[in-house]
């Protein structure tokens, strides 16, 4: 079976800056893959290239049935949350979701069910400008599920969530992966990642520096935490000696 996501030799430059440098990794169905790296490591650029929003200079990023542009019905194949703040502040959460539903030919009732599922049913009629970042993350997650896709791509979905929200998100991701979906989730919150993900891909300066099942990564370095390993691999000065 082909992997859900396959990134192969992906390179993207912005002017002289190499944002993503020959990056390769795969994501499997039924597993949560944590995509980790410092700010500016190229995570968002890689995700945007995967989703066809950015044209890579070389290499490819594809789903099992082809590149994002080749997907016959992208909303039913892939759900993506790139930036939770990307909501018109004057529009209600319900209208925001229903606009996407209309464009994707998803019934309004599905949008309303999802608002219920992410815990926004009561706030659905309020303007999104008044939403906290956590509420916007919930709205963004609802949007990814509109087409009931088999692949989810989430950029920093835990940002702005309170502890209850983080626990809720973890449970949601576990459920989604248990249903057989592939979940690729970027994050900074390593303690959270360590409790949530099955596989990790760590990148630094646009390159992959590690990718393995989390358990194998930890087993290979007894006594070290994911944070220790991450800091060592991404070049934190004292990472090695701690």
């Amino acid at each position: 079976m082909r992997p859900a996501i396959e990134v192969a030799g992906l390179t993207k430059r912005f002017g002289r800056t190499v944002a993503v440098n020959n990056l390769s990794f795969t994501v499997s169905y039924g597993r949560i893959t944590g995509f980790l790296g410092p700010n500016g490591a190229g995570k968002t650029t890689a995700l945007r290239a995967l989703l066809g929003l950015i044209r890579p200079d070389s290499g490819a990023a594809t789903f099992a049935s082809g590149s994002y542009a080749e997907l016959r019905d992208p909303v039913r194949a892939v759900g993506a949350l790139l930036d939770a703040s990307a909501v018109h502040p004057g529009r209600t959460g319900r209208d925001h979701l229903r606009i996407m539903a209309a464009a994707a030919r998803v019934p309004d009732s599905r949008a309303d069910q999802l608002l219920e599922r992410v815990g926004l049913a009561r706030a659905a009629g309020q303007r999104a400008g008044g939403y906290s970042l956590g509420m916007r993350q919930r709205l963004g997650l609802a949007a990814t599920l509109l087409g009931d896709p088999a692949v989810l791509v989430l950029d920093e979905p835990a940002n702005g969530l309170d502890p209850q929200g983080i626990r809720w998100l973890r449970d949601q991701l576990r459920i989604l992966a248990a249903e057989g979906r592939a979940v690729l989730v970027s994050s900074h919150v390593l303690a959270e990642v360590a409790q949530t993900v099955d596989d990790v891909v760590i990148i630094s300066h646009g390159c992959s520096v590690a990718q393995a099942p989390l358990r194998a990564l930890l087993a290979a370095r007894p006594g070290r935490t994911l944070e220790d390993i991450y800091l060592e691999l991404t070049g934190y000065p004292n990472g090695e000696s701690q």
Binding site: I54, Y68, L82, A86, V87, H88, A102, A103
Partner: protein
């Protein structure tokens, strides 16, 4: 495409922007037309009715802004990414915006010109001022007002696709309409060309009114509409090409 148009219509309906622009335009037009119809002493070569109805041309300015905001708003609020994720080929997204905004412009323009006529003609009649237009002329003016407003909304969509920055796009449009064209209009020889082929002159020509204040040597309705449509097409095609090629980073 019908699904995308439904989504665009929802986008338009669910923010205050469109309603504020519409209410603002109708208020200004109704007030301006009433005052002008009461006070006009127009004796130029166009008819008093046409010179008064020129004020309804404000609908075209607002339509140009509405079209621009419909595109730049997606960049400003970063909703462009999710819109493109649903429509990866991108051009249909712009086409749906074009159709939706042009349709809204057509309706708004007909309503604005119709309302302006409903105020102007009785007021002129009560003052015993001959309107100088017959029923067929009036029909042409109302339809022309709708077409001009639709074309300006379409042009606005094209401008928004070219200039993503919302403030930049709005300032550009207003500068063209209210600073560049009026000033260039004063230059001998060049001025006459600007009055005919500038946006203000073309919108007034398409509507079959005059500019405000009255300028009469405009293109007639069909040629003016054709030139305005050509401007809109150029902006839209260039905007579509740019949209397809751009990296969407926000």
């Amino acid at each position: 495409m019908t699904a995308l148009i439904r989504a665009e219509a929802r986008k338009l309906r669910t923010t205050r922007t469109f309603w504020l622009l519409a209410i603002g335009a109708f208020t200004l037009i109704a007030g301006g037309v009433t005052a002008t119809a009461i006070a006009t002493t127009y004796t130029g070569p166009a008819s008093p009715a046409r010179a008064t109805l020129a004020l309804a041309g404000l609908a075209q300015t607002f339509a140009l802004l509405a079209g621009t905001l419909a595109v730049t708003g997606e960049y400003r609020h970063k909703t462009i990414s999710s819109a493109i994720l649903i429509t990866p080929r991108r051009t249909p997204l712009l086409a749906a915006k074009l159709i939706t905004l042009a349709a809204a412009g057509l309706v708004s323009g007909v309503v604005a010109m119709g309302a302006a006529a409903a105020i102007t003609l009785p007021v002129l009649a009560s003052r015993h001022v001959a309107s100088g237009i017959n029923g067929a002329d009036l029909a042409g003016i109302i339809v022309g007002g709708g077409v001009a407003t639709a074309l300006c909304a379409a042009l606005g969509v094209g401008v928004g696709a070219l200039i993503r920055n919302q403030a930049g796009a709005v300032v550009t449009v207003l500068f063209l309409l209210y600073v560049a064209e009026p000033l260039l209009g004063f230059i001998p020889h060049v001025g006459a060309v600007i009055q005919q082929y500038g946006l203000g002159g073309l919108a007034a020509g398409t509507s079959g009114t005059t500019q405000y204040p009255a300028v009469t040597h405009l293109l007639s309705q069909v040629p003016a509409a054709a030139v305005l449509a050509a401007y809109a097409t150029v902006a839209l095609v260039a905007g579509a090409v740019l949209l397809r090629q751009r990296d969407i980073t926000a």
